[in-house]
Symmetry: D4
Subunit: 163 residues, 8 copies
Amino acid sequence: MEPIRSRAIPPRTGDEVSPLDKRIIEHLQQDGRRPFTQIAAELGVSEAAVRARTSRLIERGILQIVGVTDPLKLGFHQMAMVGVRCDGDKLIEAAEQIAELPEVSYAVITAGPYDVLVEAVCEDNEALLSFLADRLRHIPGVRDTEAFVYLRIVKETYQWGTR
Amino acid sequence: MEPIRSRAIPPRTGDEVSPLDKRIIEHLQQDGRRPFTQIAAELGVSEAAVRARTSRLIERGILQIVGVTDPLKLGFHQMAMVGVRCDGDKLIEAAEQIAELPEVSYAVITAGPYDVLVEAVCEDNEALLSFLADRLRHIPGVRDTEAFVYLRIVKETYQWGTR
Amino acid sequence: MEPIRSRAIPPRTGDEVSPLDKRIIEHLQQDGRRPFTQIAAELGVSEAAVRARTSRLIERGILQIVGVTDPLKLGFHQMAMVGVRCDGDKLIEAAEQIAELPEVSYAVITAGPYDVLVEAVCEDNEALLSFLADRLRHIPGVRDTEAFVYLRIVKETYQWGTR
Amino acid sequence: MEPIRSRAIPPRTGDEVSPLDKRIIEHLQQDGRRPFTQIAAELGVSEAAVRARTSRLIERGILQIVGVTDPLKLGFHQMAMVGVRCDGDKLIEAAEQIAELPEVSYAVITAGPYDVLVEAVCEDNEALLSFLADRLRHIPGVRDTEAFVYLRIVKETYQWGTR
Amino acid sequence: MEPIRSRAIPPRTGDEVSPLDKRIIEHLQQDGRRPFTQIAAELGVSEAAVRARTSRLIERGILQIVGVTDPLKLGFHQMAMVGVRCDGDKLIEAAEQIAELPEVSYAVITAGPYDVLVEAVCEDNEALLSFLADRLRHIPGVRDTEAFVYLRIVKETYQWGTR
Amino acid sequence: MEPIRSRAIPPRTGDEVSPLDKRIIEHLQQDGRRPFTQIAAELGVSEAAVRARTSRLIERGILQIVGVTDPLKLGFHQMAMVGVRCDGDKLIEAAEQIAELPEVSYAVITAGPYDVLVEAVCEDNEALLSFLADRLRHIPGVRDTEAFVYLRIVKETYQWGTR
Amino acid sequence: MEPIRSRAIPPRTGDEVSPLDKRIIEHLQQDGRRPFTQIAAELGVSEAAVRARTSRLIERGILQIVGVTDPLKLGFHQMAMVGVRCDGDKLIEAAEQIAELPEVSYAVITAGPYDVLVEAVCEDNEALLSFLADRLRHIPGVRDTEAFVYLRIVKETYQWGTR
Amino acid sequence: MEPIRSRAIPPRTGDEVSPLDKRIIEHLQQDGRRPFTQIAAELGVSEAAVRARTSRLIERGILQIVGVTDPLKLGFHQMAMVGVRCDGDKLIEAAEQIAELPEVSYAVITAGPYDVLVEAVCEDNEALLSFLADRLRHIPGVRDTEAFVYLRIVKETYQWGTR
């Protein structure tokens, strides 16, 4: 008989974000360039503390502060979520190659009818077709694709996991 | 006979982002808090120019600089893309109510088999069930839902439309 | 026991299109305004015969001569085939109301998973959404819709049934 | 880092169709052979202007004037929209070969569950089977097909994009 | 705790069909009007035995001898298998009403995505549409239908269970 | 340009079944062994006429008189309709091989999501599995199968096309 | 702005199962009635220790020792997994009522196309139909059901989580 | 012509479970280690009778007494039912190899859209992905998989066939 296995669960790190950390994150979610002096004043701590904690949150990979652009304003008028089905044994390799395509802003392996969900950002329908037919479907292991064209983005927030 | 209509197409604004604007955006995509003096030095322009152009890009809605957090690091271990089908005549109203749910980080109306695609960020399976059964499916006009649980996020970039 | 029924099949009219009729149709498929004198000369018959036969083909509904426009050239950049499913007992009524919507260029009742296939011609994604959400799905008896956005039209011929 | 790209959008030509052009198109949509003198009289312009503008609309590909036949009246009793799924990397090549089959009146590459939607016009069920099994499915890259048989055409207009 | 139930299985009657019965059935499957004297001679039994056993097989519902007609030869050119989905609690009632429609030659309740599979025999596409839209879908409890039009019948045998 | 083709439609033979023929068919649908003398007496014609017309209907393939057995009464307890999808170019060959399997009572090529619908009559679940896994799916060109197990046969009539 | 929430994760109890506990579980998985003296001898501990640890594992809900019966041997010949879809806002209530039906051995709420997966154990096809049509589909909130009939159980182990 | 076959049905053994057997089973379903003396006293029979009948039920494969563990309590937090589709001719071989994977607690071949339904018990999403991508989909003959992640187990009983 096989020996019983039970998995050593690593300590979860989520709880280690202190209440003060969270207040700082909230400020930076509102404005990524808000001066540390202003945040420090509002939270009643020193600027050095805000600066140090922010650096530490970034180092630990909990926070990043980034410039996010609006694709529509830059001439990318056709976006789609693309459901991809892969050949049996090529799932992870294919997903990694998909992620390298420049039109792909987002790629996630999912349980369910699609193996990979891919968000593509394209200029227009011809560019979307070119992405699908000339690039995505030429990746080894990609069997078929089904694109859900975006009609309107209703919500998009960069504050995941902090509500 | 109906009169011929043809639509007055508004001028597209995408082209108005100058090459210098784009170089500034690239810097801020790498680090949202990079000092303007450093960007100015690298691009060979004045700090005032960088500051002014950045402000203008933000005002025009082309750019935002935000703190983005990693849900896994904050204790949110179960994410899913949820395909939602709505009753015939309630699509837009339902999509707007869905967008107000706190678990929803992303909601988009699509052409295709799902009326709305919704990304949900939850602590665990029970929280995902609670989101689906107690909140999402109680919104008037939501007929059924199908959740694609995330197994692994392979790519996630905040640089849409600027590749 | 029910009496045996067998259906009186009406004589099919397809065979009544004479070889000369077909030659005339071929000319008009190439150019709907080709002068009858030119067609007559090429076919070795009188202009009166060409004119009379053309009129008769039009009267019988076999032929129409129409101006056909290219939607893309007139600013309509988003087309889709929309599969519509209707409530049980409202199929034909719904199909007829769908046909009256101005965005609809084509509507056909089909056997299969969709009750009605509808071609819609729209300016852009917002107009397509408005067509789907504000008009199509408000027609009584329309239960749900699934849009297949056109990426490229590969063939389009107005010569049905005469190949 | 990749340089930022933004696409030079070509000027849209839709707006260049003048109001007078549109009035002429409307006349020709009603009757493709309406004499230019009659159109000129109704619009209050010279026959030469109508003739010149019509020629120009045809040259620019905005308008064509064609004889359109009714397949049912010519003995073609079975029509179907056929959803085609292609092998990963053969989509465009397959679509182009499909378009060359004589039974195909219409072929469009779509986003969604079917790669290509194809309208086929056939004499009867045996001819439709022969089209599907002996021709369409022998094209390299065609993986499977699903035919939606037409039960009734409810609307068919040749006035796309001019409503 | 609930008491244990176990089901009293009725004795199966299949085994009670004797080898002689089966030989008689085989003869009648080939020609339903073959004279009993001929069958008796070939099987080496009396005509009375063949007659008596045939009557008994018919009485027991094991055999029926019927005239079967070819729908195509009688002017019924469009047949379809129709998958029917019913409202939750109306399955059996709906199936029984479906069975009473004259176009229905066959109706079976199945496990799987369709609640009832229905074979319909119709003159042409308009008659099939009328069957679907005006009769089948007006039966209370019928929610939606999906017709698989027959292209060619490849095999049809009336010898079920006796191969 | 391709020459116009139009198909010579063969005269339909359905109308050639006379009213007397139909009355005879009705009698034989009720009881395939009803004596011709009895039918003749009820219809007011000679026995020779009934006999001759019946022979002629059988020769023309319009009618067959057959013994039909009830599979359940012969120990075949598990029936299923099986939807079969075939590889692109093997549809008709596969369908013909399927038709030769002894468990298959019915096979039809259809338009729609399944290429071939197959009715199988089996003793029990193990026999159905053996049919699917060991025979049906080993036929070259059969790609996948989906079985709809019968729960109850609600209607089964052998009087197609004569209602 | 909403305050940042992060979830207090309860300590996971899985790790608290000691290696000795696991060895005891392994013995009882092989034979639920194995005498504690025998287990104690093989593991080199006292019978009292085995008895006490077993009681504690049962109290904590980690282990149960039960008689499991084979449905086929008790006359239940038709089993199915049933995918259930529920009305929007009745998911959990419906699942709980489903769980009370005696034919149901297993019920689980899932992400994906089915809201609830239900294993049903029935005597035969008529009993399965009765379960589906007369009981399952009469539960308020059950919209439709799709049964996957079992053809063969290939593996069934009661040793979850201890492999 | 093929000879008529009819299947020799083996005597069903379900009825051979006596009422006393069933009462004993009921006791052991409640507690698999209940002392035989206690059961004997409650049922008014000798301990030897209870012991002998229990042994006989186990020998005949009708009953097994096993330790069943709760996967959640042992650190296995992600379970899923996985629908597997196999290549045409590899169904049974693939199912048997699937059954050997340690994550698989249950595997059943079904009629319907999935060839095999597999229950997998995994520690977390990464382990589920590894199971799907690295093991399940590398089994020869497995074509694609679709996982339905468990959100909540509502019912789980080990008393199949004895309700």
